[in-house]
């Protein structure tokens, strides 16, 4: 299909947002843009993006298939996403999803026959305080019960547009894709729709009711110059040095607590400190100039001797190969050229050495 002139003009506008020699940054918005015309990223959409950015189709396809929001099959007018991540699931999200799936007769990423609704289960939608949540074209319906969810989809199928709990009045999925491509919501008043929900305001309301605020806020507090700050820091350091008592005798090192049995297969690796492995790993990932980073557990430095020479590895490999038992026909293991040809012929005639008609596979009980 060929894309409309509007889409082409929008594509130029998107590309202009990024530095001239970095136009590839426009790829994500452009993929949203082609969805706004076709409802999904079709091969033609991939080609369009490749053409306007000077990429090849494989480069664009690799990106399009990576992200969940790029759909690879035509979608309905409304995308209904039900959160089934842990918190929403525990609070009833899975029940909502199952109810909708049964009622609509579609599964994950499938569209109803009337082309109205595509259903999906979604991962955490960042609204756990409103859980269980569902979104229609990404606008929120909070604290949904199965019946409420049914009412929403029924109204959508009947041509209505129920108002989301938070967020703007609904538009179609294609219209939403225009916004995702980075364009303003042109509908009159849509940006103003949807006030804050109560859970977002809970802490604030408490503070307001009880007159709690943070004291001492003076917007005229001067900003110190860096030189001033450096001087103050030096003075403070000198003061601390002067006030320092004589060095304490070194404390006896506490014996490490015996580790609880965890079933780990690496009992020979001692952790460098008593931190939990997750904490230590997290710290290792965020080194700053002042932090000494211990080796991650399992890091083995060859401190006991010289590193193995490359020929050791080759010798080990040869020894391993020599120890392999010969193949069943008495020939050395591995593919001889003749054997490969024979296998091919056998496969074509359908009388493979391992026997059996392919149709039998279904009767073997392998797949239930």
């Amino acid at each position: 299909m060929s894309f409309s002139e509007t889409t082409r003009a929008r594509a130029r506008e998107i590309i202009a947002r990024y530095p001239a020699d970095r136009s590839r940054s426009a790829l994500l918005p452009l993929l949203h843009l082609v969805q706004s015309e076709e409802g999904y990223v079709s091969p033609a959409g991939v080609e369009f993006c490749a053409e306007v950015l000077g990429l090849n189709k494989a480069q664009v396809g690799a990106v399009a298939t990576f992200y969940t929001m790029y759909k690879r099959k035509p979608t309905g007018e409304y995308l209904v996403s039900v959160c089934t991540n842990t918190m929403c699931d525990v609070l009833g999200g899975q029940k909502v999803y199952d109810t909708l799936a049964e009622h609509l007769g579609v599964g994950h990423e499938e569209t109803t026959a009337d082309g109205k609704i595509t259903l999906e289960h979604a991962e955490c939608l960042a609204a756990c305080d409103y859980g269980p949540v569902m979104t229609v074209n990404y606008d929120f319906f909070d604290n949904v019960e199965p019946q409420a969810a049914l009412d929403v989809v029924e109204e959508l199928r009947a041509g209505g547009r129920p108002m989301p709990t938070r967020g703007a009045r609904l538009c179609t999925l294609k219209e939403m894709a225009v916004q995702l491509a980075g364009f303003a919501d042109e509908r009159d008043g849509a940006v103003a729709d949807g006030g804050p929900g109560e859970p977002s305001l809970r802490g604030l309301r408490l503070a307001e009711q009880h007159g709690v605020s943070v004291p001492g806020f003076d917007p005229k507090t001067p900003i110190r110059s860096k030189a001033e700050a450096d001087r103050a820091a030096a003075e403070e350091k000198a003061k601390a040095e002067a006030a320092k008592p004589a060095p304490e005798p070194a404390k006896a090192v506490e014996p490490a607590k015996p580790e609880a049995a965890t079933g780990s297969t690496a009992p020979d690796v001692k952790a460098p400190d008593a931190k939990s492995p997750q904490v230590r790993t997290a710290e290792t990932r965020q080194p700053d100039a002042g932090t000494a980073v211990p080796d991650a557990p399992g890091t083995k430095m060859p401190v006991d001797g010289p590193a193995p020479a490359p020929r050791d590895a080759r010798a080990a490999e040869a020894a391993g190969a020599a120890a392999n038992p010969p193949a069943g026909d008495g020939k050395p293991a591995g593919d001889a050229a003749g054997a490969q040809e024979r296998n091919l012929k056998e496969a074509e005639s359908g009388t493979g050495a391992d026997g059996g008609d392919p149709a039998d596979a279904s009767g073997t009980g392998v797949r239930k």
């Binding site: 950015l53 940006v191 110059s225 780990s264 965020q286």
Partner: protein
């Protein structure tokens, strides 16, 4: 519902959330009446180095999970190197349990925009991006409208407020990939590639966006900046603890009377947070909780009095993360909860590193077997063994996060696993769901 005690209420610190009560604060006019853009005017009169020093003095630490000192990060940007500098705001909020950045951008988008301008001025960046999660459409609407208003009023664009400083700001929507919340994956995604993490070093401070010096900061971090510029570092440090200064938005969800956002002084305990939230839901007793999203090891009722700052939570063997406290009760099963999280990590693993891609795939299957009543004692060893082989062995922290709930739930709730394996708990998944799942 009982009223919280006054000493607990005193820990509330409405700073970043304060404007949410004004329904029109997302409009420029209202924002300006509420101290809006006053910090920018003040900051533009100061030298950029003074601003970096101010943020260092404030002790502000990253709000995205890792808690890296923000001033230090800004200070890493080499100055006078002749390369363009970039500021990228990580608004790809998606850590399960976290829901603080979306309301902030929806109800007070200008505070983020103002923070972006000040931060860009400090690190000498003339181009900034806000990479916002694709699904966050309403927050993006408000944010785009705020950026347009700021351009029209001269806060953005050429010669900001006559200071000679130029800044372009683009709001860039993602497309549904949790991994893009990882800073280097986010940069790859912003460059138009698959969102896969890069090996570090080199760090983004020298080789970030377009191989140029880049600061990547979370929404909460950048939105804090205008308040520090106005109130000063000393005022900021009146909140929080010595090493974890300032207010923090705690996102409470689950089995409590009033789930929601509670902005409190850092170092508050879960006991106090639950008190603020009106207690547990009737009939529920606390069993396990995440201090900072599903990537942080679970804690239990014995940790009710752990101070929720970076050091306190690390001392208890977990991570403060994004302060997303998901609260589960004795009616929730830690094995099933962990299974659902693993489904998530399996789905969101970008596939670049084998330990994370394969490990999560297989762990999900082991969990299905256990939950279907077909698990064996060996499965528990297999899980720990797999975690050993994921943790610290991939480019980024996604795999590490996946192991958190597995190892911690096995540590605290081994009996729950044994109950499935030894037939005391009825299977939660049927054979049918075993075959058809996903």
């Amino acid at each position: 519902m009982t009223t919280p005690r006054p000493e607990t209420l005193a820990k509330l610190t409405p700073v970043l959330t304060k404007r949410w009560l004004s329904p029109d604060a997302w409009r420029l006019g209202t924002y300006e009446k509420l101290d809006g853009y006053a910090a920018l005017r003040k900051a533009l009169k100061a030298h950029p180095d003074d601003l970096i020093q101010l943020i260092k003095d404030s002790g502000l630490r990253g709000r995205g999970g890792a808690g890296f000192p923000t001033g230090l990060k800004w200070g890493f940007i080499p100055q006078g190197d002749g390369k363009p500098h970039y500021l990228v705001v990580n608004a790809d909020e998606g850590e399960p349990g976290t829901c603080k950045d979306l309301p902030l951008m929806t109800h007070d988008p200008h505070s983020l925009v103002e923070g972006v301008i000040i931060a860009s001025y400090a690190i000498r960046a003339n181009r900034a991006y806000i990479y916002i999660r694709g699904e966050a459409v309403h927050a993006a609407r408000r944010l785009r409208s705020a950026v347009d208003e700021a351009y029209a009023k001269g806060y953005l664009g050429r010669n900001v407020l006559g200071s000679g400083f130029d800044l372009d700001l683009v709001v860039h929507s993602g497309a549904g990939a949790y991994i893009c919340g990882e800073e280097t994956a986010l940069l790859d995604s912003l460059e138009g590639f698959r969102g896969q993490p890069r090996l570090r070093p080199p760090f983004p401070a020298t080789h970030g966006l377009y191989a140029s010096p880049t600061v990547v900061n979370n929404v909460g971090t950048i939105a804090s900046v205008p308040y520090i510029v106005l109130g000063g570092a000393d005022w900021w440090k009146t909140m929080g603890t010595e090493k974890s200064s300032g207010p923090m938005i705690y996102s409470l969800s689950g089995r409590i009377a009033n789930p929601g956002q509670y902005e409190c002084s850092m170092g508050i305990t879960l006991r106090e947070l639950i008190e603020l939230a009106g207690g547990m839901k009737p009939g529920h007793n606390l069993k396990f909780w995440t201090p900072g999203g599903s990537s942080t090891p679970l804690l239990t009722a014995e940790h009710l009095d752990v101070p929720l700052d970076f050091e306190g939570v690390a001392g208890a063997g977990s991570i403060l993360g994004t302060t997303a406290t998901q609260i589960f009760s004795d009616q929730d099963c830690p094995v099933y909860a962990t299974y659902r999280w693993l489904e998530f990590y399996h789905h969101e693993s970008c596939g670049k590193c084998t330990p994370c891609r394969e490990g999560n795939y297989w762990m999900v299957r082991v969990y299905r077997r256990i939950l279907a009543g077909q698990g064996t004692h060996e499965d528990l060893d297999t899980l720990l063994d797999t975690c050993d082989n994921i943790l610290g062995r991939s480019f980024c922290g996604l795999g590490d996060g996946a192991t958190s709930s597995v190892t911690s739930s096995l540590k605290y709730f081994k009996q729950d696993y044994l109950d499935y394996i030894e037939g005391r708990t009825a299977p939660k998944l049927s054979d049918k769901s075993l075959v058809g799942a996903h």
